[in-house]
């Protein structure tokens, strides 16, 4: 498949509509609750997309990505609170720091495979969470940090949600483009080769260690940038909101529901699961505590058990990028690309 044809598919009409629609709807409908959902939806879809770069393309199933998310949030916030560094700069500082930590972690854990890698990332995220609670001189511990509401572009705080909608959308499109790049570039091909078979990839002369570290760095850095966005949007962070393991699982869940290892899958996953979660919470959350999560968990179970390829597999048409995945002769288990065969 030539590059051009592939790009035509990645930016087909259906996909463009899909990518633009929530942003347009949020701009048109001035409902605060709806806009909040759309912003969160774009935030988590983007985070899932960033995770998918590592988890989907490289097959490295991290369940500790919330550590990078929180590192981004804390770095920019602490720089802003203590040294009045603009969060725009803090965002890149956080991304760099997260990428660096990701590379260090990646080099330590690189021999680990399958569930062992996942568990090590989970332990890593817990370590970062405990540090963030106990190092209270720096992070104010579990009391969290409130960012003072002073609107201004350089402060990354806006009084209208429209700005947040646009920024979140730009993030989403940017990460989608990175995913498209992964799906069509040498780096992406190397990663996919590594995912399918490490031995074969090495035999073909791919330096699996460096491509893997590149994927970790990019994925961690992008996730950290979203952490900054989250902090500037909510204006409050504490270890329980940015470092909690539920975030990591949410990110992976969206990819899994949408279709792991595809460019559009994680975003579709976010479109379905985030509004579902918010809707259930607002509809049922007050009546009986916990009921909405029971329903949410059941929906998630059904999708994962009976639609292992994700929602994208329902839409396996050219415009959705199914053809590449369906290429014969490529081994993949039923959950898309998983582990090292």
């Amino acid at each position: 498949m030539t590059m051009q044809r592939s790009l035509k598919r990645e930016f087909s009409l259906v996909r463009i509509v899909l990518l633009v629609l929530p942003m347009l709807l949020a701009l048109i409908i001035p409902n605060a609750f709806f806009r909040d959902i759309v912003i969160l939806l774009m935030l988590w879809s983007t985070a899932a997309s960033a995770w998918n770069l590592l988890g989907g393309f490289a097959g490295q199933l991290s369940i500790g990505h919330t550590a990078f998310f929180g590192i981004g949030a804390y770095t920019s916030t602490l720089l802003y609170i203590n040294f009045s560094v603009s969060p725009w700069i803090g965002m890149f500082a956080g991304a760099l720091l997260a990428a660096l930590i990701g590379v260090v972690l990646g080099s330590i854990t690189f021999p680990l495979k399958g569930p062992f890698f996942s568990l090590s990332t989970l332990a890593f995220a817990e370590i970062v969470r405990i540090i963030s609670i106990s190092w209270s001189d720096l992070t104010k511990g579990s009391r969290g940090i409130v960012i003072k509401y002073t609107p201004g572009f350089d402060k990354f705080i806006f009084d209208s949600p429209v700005a947040y909608i646009l920024i979140a959308w730009v993030f989403m499109i940017a990460v989608y483009c990175v995913a498209v790049y992964f799906n069509n570039s040498r780096l992406g091909f190397y990663l996919m080769a590594y995912r399918e078979s490490e031995d074969a990839a090495r035999a073909l002369g791919i330096n699996t260690v460096t491509v893997r570290l590149k994927a970790v760095a990019i994925s961690a850095g992008l996730t950290a940038m979203l952490g900054t966005f989250y902090a500037q949007y909510i204006l409050f962070i504490d270890p329980e909101s940015v470092f909690i393991v539920d975030n990591s699982l949410q990110i992976v869940l969206l990819s899994l529901v949408g279709g792991i290892g595809t460019t559009i899958g994680p975003i579709i996953g976010g479109y379905i699961m985030v509004p579902l979660g918010q809707f259930l919470r607002s509809a049922l959350g007050d009546a009986v505590p916990g009921f909405h999560l029971v329903i949410y968990g059941l929906c998630m179970l059904l999708i994962i058990m009976y639609l292992p390829g994700g929602l994208v597999s329902l839409l396996q048409r050219r415009s959705f990028g199914g053809s590449r995945l369906k290429r014969p002769g490529r081994r993949r288990d039923e959950h898309g690309a998983v582990g090292n065969s």
């Binding site: 199933l61 369940i63 330590i108 854990t109 021999p111 680990l112 495979k113 399958g114 569930p115 062992f116 996942s118 568990l119 090590s120 989970l122 332990a123 890593f124 817990e126 370590i127 405990i130 540090i131 609670i133 106990s134 393991v245 699982l249 992976v252 869940l253 899994l256 792991i260 009986v288 505590p289 916990g290 009921f291 909405h292 999560l293 029971v294 949410y296 968990g297 059941l298 998630m300 179970l301 994962i304 058990m305 292992p308 288990d333 039923e334 959950h335 998983v338 582990g339 090292n340 065969s341």
Partner: protein, 291 residues
């Protein structure tokens, strides 16, 4: 000091007991069971209600709950285990995690977030040996963890079923070719693991409060213990439990109580990197079943 060591070892026995079931499910079957903590939570609630309504002592109801759990998984939940065994590891993580969410929130719905505990004669009872004091309930768990280790070890080593379980663990395809009904083995081992977990959960009730989210911390500890001790190694789980229990007691005393988790997560990553088969696991077994 000796008080610290005793506390640590008793805690280790407790951790070993709650990890034993996970060792069967994760260590032997390689099913990444994120609902392990919720299995413990559910059995604690069962024991609690048995005590609350029928005044059945947790130590007695555990002997009822465990066989019932076993039966439940052998019959009603059987298709589910078969499905789980065939999923990829990420699928398993999220299927079991989903079950965890559902169970946790069902508990929240039905029983509210209140902390509940039973007040039995022995739950507060302390035994003094010279200067060393320890609680009776923890001592019971410690002794039972020894009993379970020995029993399970010989069961897996000597009995026919144990041999088929180990054969299936080593190579599912070959085991099937040798005439072993691997599906039956999977269901049986899973049910056995769940039953042991339920038993341990019942015994936890006199020691800990029960509330819907109690499972998560237990599950993390169980994963650490199983990997530390070695996948599939029953004595390894016991030793792993002791190491984590002692680490917790000592680091809680010498560093600070909030840092004790940090210490064992660091141990966990170190052991994963340096010796992924665990301390007592057979070298190379960590690669088995990892697709």
């Amino acid at each position: 000091m000796s008080q610290l060591l005793v506390t640590g070892i008793l805690l280790g026995g407790l951790y070993a007991l709650i990890s034993m079931g996970l060792n069967l499910i994760f260590g032997v079957l390689r099913i990444v069971n994120f609902a392990h903590g919720e299995f413990i939570m559910v059995s604690m609630y069962l024991a609690y209600w048995a005590y609350y309504y029928y005044k059945i002592d947790p130590y007695i109801s555990a002997f009822v709950i465990a066989p019932l759990t076993f039966l439940f998984f052998m019959t009603v939940a059987k298709p589910f285990i078969v499905k789980l065994a065939d999923s990829s590891h990420l699928g398993q993580v999220f299927i079991t995690f989903g079950i965890g969410i559902v169970l946790q929130n069902l508990a929240l719905m039905l029983f509210s977030a209140d902390y509940r505990s039973v007040d039995t004669v022995y739950s507060k009872m302390q035994i003094a040996l010279g200067e060393i004091q320890f609680s009776l309930a923890r001592m019971v768990m410690f002794l039972l963890s020894l009993v379970f280790t020995v029993a399970l070890y010989y069961y897996l080593k000597k009995s026919y079923m144990g041999k088929t379980i180990r054969a299936t663990m080593q190579n599912r395809t070959v085991a099937m070719l040798m005439g072993i009904d691997t599906q039956k083995v999977y269901v049986f081992t899973f049910a056995l693991g769940a039953a042991i977990t339920a038993f341990a959960g019942g015994l936890l009730l006199p020691i800990f409060y029960v509330y819907p989210t109690i499972g998560f911390s237990f599950a993390l500890i169980a994963f650490i213990v199983v990997i530390l001790g070695g996948l599939g190694s029953i004595p390894g789980t016991l030793i792993g439990g002791f190491i984590i229990g002692l680490t917790e007691a000592l680091s809680g005393y010498f560093i600070s109580a909030s840092m004790k988790q940090l210490v064992y997560f660091c141990i966990f990553i170190l052991i994963l990197v340096l010796r992924p088969a665990g301390l007592f696991g057979q070298r190379g077994t960590e690669e088995l079943g990892v697709k």
